[in-house]
């Protein structure tokens, strides 16, 4: 059993890639910097704030989704539906106070998503199709419970989530704190190590005695909590919650994780990478917006970036295997 762990650990140890990946990332940053520098109004305090603000809600959710990808379950397509549920629970329960309402929303998101994780981890169900079904079911349930009308805040406490201490939105602080907490959880705890091992090689992890079901359920639970937190911010920002909030949220969140460089097949990546991915995508969207491109072009570029980064990571991984 020890050898299985040692082997998986050794595989992970090879993650230090000299060459291709850092080079690609550097090229990406330089291209983006050139475009940013040559764009009017980019380097203004207001614009940097706008970028961070637009990165924050997607970033918070993407940090959570990173754990789903890391544990080897690809992605969840129920991100948007879970966030909408989180927003609805939060706004509807605000009369209990800000913290209890937020806690309830987080608990709901974590529970619903952890259940999906338990099924994926325990029975090997296809995570993408399972989360499509779960998201659809969740949308149906939330729109039934809300009678299809916009859920209004039951008290005024939500404005705290819209405040801007020291001129920066609360969501940005939450995103950064969450990134650090999740990074520590991944790199410094036994649970984090288990997540990486399960994602890298499920069979080896099982042979090593790791509880796959519990690890996967917890990873999904973290994701669900993050979806709900993002949803609460979204609901607070819009002063109401309905299925309309969902928009392209699911894909923005997935794009942030994958563009950040977390391996789609699991086992390799980190919350900090996702943070970089979220900020990069927000910056690109901002540059495109300032240059007068509309949402279509932004979405197109996001998709192309996702394919490009997935391809680059795969090719880099193959080069590494050839070297060793």
């Amino acid at each position: 059993m020890r050898t299985a762990v040692a082997r998986v650990e050794a595989m992970r140890g090879r993650a230090a890639v000299p060459g291709l990946l850092p080079a690609l990332a550097a090229v990406g940053v330089i291209v983006l910097a050139v475009f940013a520098l040559t764009t009017d109004r980019f380097f203004t305090v207001d614009n940097v704030k706008a970028i961070l603000n637009s990165a924050s809600i997607v970033g918070i959710m993407a940090l959570g989704l990173t754990f789903v990808t890391l544990v080897g379950s690809l992605v969840s397509l129920a991100v948007g539906a879970t966030a909408v549920m989180g927003a609805m629970v939060f706004l509807d329960q605000l009369h209990l106070g800000l913290v209890p309402a937020l806690a309830l929303a987080i608990a709901a998101g974590a529970a619903v998503t952890a259940l999906q994780g338990a099924i994926v981890g325990g029975w090997g169900a296809n995570p993408v199709i399972l989360t499509i079904g779960a998201g659809f079911l969740l949308s149906g349930v939330t729109s039934k419970l809300s009678d299809g009308v916009i859920v209004q805040p039951s008290a005024g406490g939500y404005t705290a989530l819209n405040s801007t201490p020291l001129g920066v939105p609360v969501g940005v602080y939450v995103m950064i704190v969450l990134a650090v907490v999740l990074q520590v959880l991944l790199r410094r705890t036994v649970f984090g190590r288990h997540v990486l091992l399960v994602g890298e090689n499920r069979d080896a992890a099982r042979a090593a005695g790791i509880r796959i079901t519990r690890t996967t359920a917890l990873a999904f639970g973290i994701a669900g909590a993050a979806f709900a937190i993002g949803g609460a911010f979204l609901g607070a920002f819009n002063r109401g919650a309905s299925a309309q909030l969902e928009g392209t949220l699911t894909f923005d969140v997935i794009a942030a994780v994958l563009v950040g460089g977390t391996l789609i097949s699991g086992g390799r990546g980190s919350p900090l990478r996702t943070l970089a991915g979220a900020v990069a995508i927000a910056t690109i969207s901002d540059v495109l917006l300032l240059r007068g491109f509309e949402t279509g072009a932004q979405t197109l570029l996001k998709g192309v970036l996702v394919v490009g980064v997935v391809l680059a990571l795969h090719l880099a991984g193959r080069g590494r295997e050839a070297e060793s």
């Binding site: 789609i264 949402t295 279509g296 391809l311």
Partner: protein, 334 residues
């Protein structure tokens, strides 16, 4: 074992369609209206939308892949058809099918050459295709002004059919012939069942994958074009619903999500079952949220039943119970 598998291939779709048909036949009890041939026409209209996507998705699942980009291809097909088919409807269909076929071939080649999971690549292309659709449409919903074509595709033929549903049925007929009369069917199943073995026995794996994704794209382009003509407008983002319906049709059609199992007949019955179920919901005026719950739950149940490790979990539990019963002395209670 192989006999049981053969059974599931045909049993699942027949039972699924039978249950839905029984539900439909019971609808007069619900609201007292008489069954009409109009219901058959409506069901086949629904089938025209669901069927082509289900065929595209089903074929990729049988081959052990999953094409998430079907939604993007459908959206792009609709916009291209409306743009290019303003004067001649067929020109628009040709543009939609051609473009989606080409994009699908590129995507299939990338998947075949790199060996990256198709879920990851098609997720990226799905997002990119939605963006491309918006760019082509200029970020606004396009209306299709050619009323002649819009009316023509939905005209009643032999009281049950329309050119649109006949096109979908035609696609299934072609697929059926290719699947049963050539080696393509067994070879696709071999790709999904055991890819290494398929390669060893000489199945051209890369070429099949590239063609498969090209065909999937073309079918979805056709579906999008016909739907846009029928609605006289092109949707920029179809949402997840078509994918949920198509996946439900595929699994009700006896296709295993693990690949390697499925038939064209099954897919046809599965798509018809979903379309008829939609018609039952329309007759009983079920609210949209309830329909979402039904299809979401259906997909959840199916994906859980189909989960590869569930069998071993169940088998282990059964074995444990059996050993408890037969040899209680050997396993004393702790």
């Amino acid at each position: 074992m192989s006999l049981r598998r053969l059974g599931a291939d045909t049993l699942v779709p027949v039972v699924a369609f039978g249950i839905v048909l029984a539900a439909y036949l019971l609808t007069p009890v619900y609201d007292g209206h008489a069954l009409a041939s109009f219901d058959a026409y409506n069901t086949l209209q629904g089938f025209a939308s669901v069927g082509l996507i289900a065929l595209a998705l089903g074929l990729t699942i049988v081959a052990g892949e999953f094409d998430l980009s079907v939604l993007g291809m459908q959206a792009l097909g609709g916009v291209l058809a409306v743009k290019a088919g303003a004067d001649h409807g067929l020109l628009g269909v040709a543009a939609a099918v051609g473009a989606c076929l080409a994009l699908g071939a590129i995507q299939g080649t990338i998947i075949a050459r790199t060996g990256i999971g198709s879920m990851a690549i098609t997720l990226g292309t799905y997002i990119a295709l939605l963006g491309l659709t918006n760019v082509v449409a200029g970020n606004q919903t396009l209306t299709y002004a050619n009323a002649d074509v819009a009316i023509w595709v939905d005209q009643t033929i032999l009281s049950w059919f329309s050119p649109r549903s006949l096109a979908a049925l035609g696609a299934f007929a072609v697929a059926l012939v290719l699947f049963t009369r050539t080696r393509l069917g067994p070879e696709l199943k071999a790709l999904g069942g055991d890819r290494r073995a398929a390669r060893v026995v000489g199945v051209p794996v890369r070429r099949h994958l590239a063609v498969l994704f090209a065909v999937s794209g073309g079918l979805c382009g056709l579906a999008g074009a016909l739907l846009a003509y029928s609605n006289a407008s092109a949707q920029l983002n179809p949402g997840l619903e078509p994918l949920v319906l198509a996946a439900a049709a595929a699994v009700l059609g006896g296709v295993s999500l693990r690949g390697g199992r499925g038939t064209i007949w099954g897919l046809l019955l599965g798509a018809l079952a979903v379309a008829l179920l939609q018609q039952v919901f329309a007759i009983t005026k079920l609210p949209t949220s309830s329909i979402q719950i039904v299809f979401g739950a259906l997909l959840l149940i199916v994906v859980v039943v189909d989960a590869p490790d569930l069998r071993s979990v169940v088998a282990r539990a059964r074995a444990r119970r059996a050993s408890h019963r037969s040899a209680p002395v050997a396993h004393p209670e702790p």
